[in-house]
């Protein structure tokens, strides 16, 4: 089997074109009907007992092998998540407590105790602001794509959104750095803008997929009632897609909350205390906190980094579960 496709073209190119290359090539073709004719006589007696015959045993074996390989791969994927959750939880256990969530970190990072309250609140502010920026733009552009754009424009826009989605986040960070930080200062707002750029294609594409799920019959029904297109969209299409839009938003929030690369440029030089104004300067945040305290080569810092990682992980898992619940409750899945 391996020889055939590799060997045959070589044979043909070796031969001069007029020296019977086509004749050589036609030989296997002549043999093929022969061999299939042979297999016809190999057919089992169809009136015999219904036990495996022919190559059925071999096919069953191959089938079982692949089934096992697939099951093992699936288990491995689940196991990776399990291991990550286990190791983060085990290492974070020593610092986890209510005060870890509500206190400032110690002034000297080598000290034990203290918490990550500023980082938690900062991340909440940054991500919330990013959502406020990205969600309306994402939803409206998805509406434009599905409800109003011509098919050609829609295709072009989808491609652009996919490219935006594939943009390395560090490039997004650099871009916003050049735009908002150079000549000014780091700020939570700059971080929000970068996260919004990352969230935008996620929200827009997922919303678009949801809008496409709204049955065409529903739009037709609304159109046939003499109601203008925007009212149809607002009154029928959007409510029907609400669950999917919320799901998309929550998922993109989960994605953005853990984004680290842009924040290192945009919101990494901050104090030790709670600060909530995204415009006044850099905001403490969980991803950068994990990064810096794990760099600090300090046992207590390590422990708090694991604790922060646990908080982030728990939030992301929670957000995913929420989004699942939302999508199950959406009107379309009924």
């Amino acid at each position: 089997m391996m020889n055939d496709p590799v060997g045959r073209p070589q044979d043909v190119t070796d031969l001069p074109p007029e020296a019977g290359g086509s004749f050589e090539r036609s030989l296997p073709g002549v043999q093929e009907p022969d061999s299939s004719g042979m297999s016809a006589s190999d057919l089992p007696d169809l009136s015999g007992p219904l036990t495996p015959s022919g190559n059925l045993r071999r096919r069953q074996l191959v089938s079982r092998l692949f089934e096992a390989a697939q099951t093992a791969s699936a288990l491995l994927a689940v196991a990776v998540l399990g291991l990550v959750i286990y190791s983060v939880t085990a290492r974070a256990a020593s610092v986890l407590s209510l005060s870890f969530l509500t206190h400032d970190p110690p002034l000297v990072s080598g000290e034990s105790g203290g918490g990550i309250a500023p980082a938690i609140l900062g991340t909440i502010v940054i991500v919330a602001l990013a959502t406020v920026i990205a969600m309306p733009i994402g939803v409206l552009s998805a509406l434009y794509l599905t409800e109003f754009a011509s098919p050609w424009t829609a295709r072009a826009f989808r491609l652009v959104l996919d490219l935006l989605n594939g943009l390395p986040t560090i490039v997004v960070g650099l871009f916003v750095f050049g735009l908002l930080v150079v000549g000014h200062h780091q700020s939570g707002f700059a971080a929000s803008v970068a996260l919004a750029i990352i969230m935008l294609p996620l929200i827009a594409r997922a919303t678009q997929e949801t809008l496409l799920l709204v049955p065409a019959g529903m739009r037709e029904a609304a159109d046939a009632l003499g109601v203008s297109r925007w009212r149809t969209v607002r009154g029928v299409v959007l409510p029907a897609a609400r669950g999917g839009i919320l799901t998309a938003t929550v998922l993109s929030v989960a994605r953005a909350a853990g984004e680290t690369a842009p924040l290192i440029f945009l919101s990494s030089i901050y104090g030790n205390t709670i600060s909530l104004n995204p415009f006044s300067g850099a905001l403490p945040n969980i991803p950068v906190y994990i990064f810096t305290s794990s760099e600090a080569a300090e046992a207590n810092g390590f422990a708090r980094a694991w604790g922060a990682a646990f908080v982030l992980l728990a939030f992301i898992l929670f957000a995913n579960i929420v989004s699942r619940t939302l999508s199950r409750r959406s009107a379309l899945s009924r």
């Binding site: 409800e147 109003f148 754009a149 011509s150 098919p151 049955p215 019959g217 529903m218 037709e220 029904a221 609304a222 159109d223 046939a224 009632l225 003499g226 109601v227 203008s228 297109r229 925007w230 009212r231 009154g235 029928v236 409510p239 029907a240 009107a331 379309l332 009924r334």
Partner: protein, 319 residues
């Protein structure tokens, strides 16, 4: 998504309000349609005579022709779906369109209220006059067309809203908010659904049975008091009992509305329609397009059709 000819049409969006009433000679362009005291929102605009059509049957005697279809051909891209249709549709009658699958019945029906406009390659030749106004005239707004010519589709398509909101949604958007509760009740009563749903108006319409959903869709269509109801095989997805209730409903609805129904069920046409049009597929000259073979009183169509193809179809020899 806009049809190629939409460039010169007024937008169907918010701008409609601003651009209202420019062309007094084209009543299908935006007009404030206020419900009149007698409940008819859309009264017949000044009508044009039937245009010299031959009135040879009693059922159409003295009846105004609501639609006058003149030499209409419909194309999707380069293929002709329907060609050379001429027919008149008369007020307060049920007109059935029957014919085998793929003969353009639905395409033709949907072109009567411009539902095909959203099909990118759609094109129409000829004229469809509605009360004497060209449905596809350059100043005509398709939202206004559909506001007067309602449609019920093959599959029940209620909105994922409550029963009440399904009915009330369009009137709310069309500024018919006065007496909304009464309007909803009237529509549901007209669609013979009131008694079944009056105690659960706030429950989701998706919980209704298929037949109830379809009657809800009819109620939704008549809640805005249109002039014409187009029904596209409204009972094809329903069981016989639900079908019977829809057919019964049509007999009462025709007193107020002009009804055009597409059906592939000949018995249904025979039961509900005064007039029947038989469409068939013309495969001559290398094309496949729907043509109107014969159009007459239903009784004549089923007992002494003039065309051989009609008699073959109604006697079940093909289709």
């Amino acid at each position: 998504m806009r049809p190629p000819d939409s460039g010169d049409l007024p937008d169907d969006g918010a701008s409609s309000v601003r651009r209202r009433v420019r062309i007094h000679a084209a009543p299908l362009a935006h007009q404030a349609t206020q419900p009149a005291a007698n409940g008819r929102a859309v009264d017949a605009a000044p009508l044009v005579g039937p245009g010299g059509a031959i009135e040879r049957r009693a059922s159409t005697q003295g009846r105004e022709a609501i639609f006058d279809v003149k030499d209409v051909s419909i194309f999707y891209g380069s293929s002709e779906a329907v060609s050379g249709i001429n027919m008149q549709i008369h007020r307060n009658l049920v007109t059935a369109i029957i014919g085998p699958s793929g003969c353009g019945k639905t395409t033709f029906l949907r072109s009567l209220n411009r539902m095909n406009d959203s099909v990118p390659s759609f094109r129409i030749d000829g004229r469809i006059l509605y009360h004497g106004h060209d449905i596809y005239g350059s100043e005509v707004d398709r939202v206004e067309v559909r506001r007067r010519i309602g449609m019920v589709f093959q599959r029940p398509n209620p909105f994922p809203k409550s029963i009440y909101d399904n009915i009330a949604w369009a009137p709310r958007n069309l500024k018919m908010k006065d007496g909304l509760d009464e309007r909803v009740e009237r529509a549901l009563r007209s669609a013979a659904l009131w008694d079944e749903v009056k105690d659960r108006l706030n429950q989701s319409a998706l919980g209704l049975s298929g037949g109830q959903q379809q009657r809800l869709c009819i109620a939704r269509a008549i809640a805005i008091e249109p002039d014409v109801l187009l029904l596209d095989e409204p009972a094809s997805a329903l069981d016989p009992v639900a079908t019977a209730s829809i057919e019964e409903l049509m007999q009462t609805l025709k007193n107020r509305y002009t009804i055009v129904i597409v059906t592939h069920n000949m018995q249904q046409a025979a039961r509900v329609a005064e007039r029947t049009a038989f469409f068939s597929l013309d495969v001559s000259a290398g094309k496949r397009s729907g043509v109107l073979v014969e159009y007459d009183d239903t009784e004549v169509m089923f007992t002494q059709p003039a065309d051989r193809r009609t008699s073959d179809y109604v006697t079940g020899r093909f289709g």
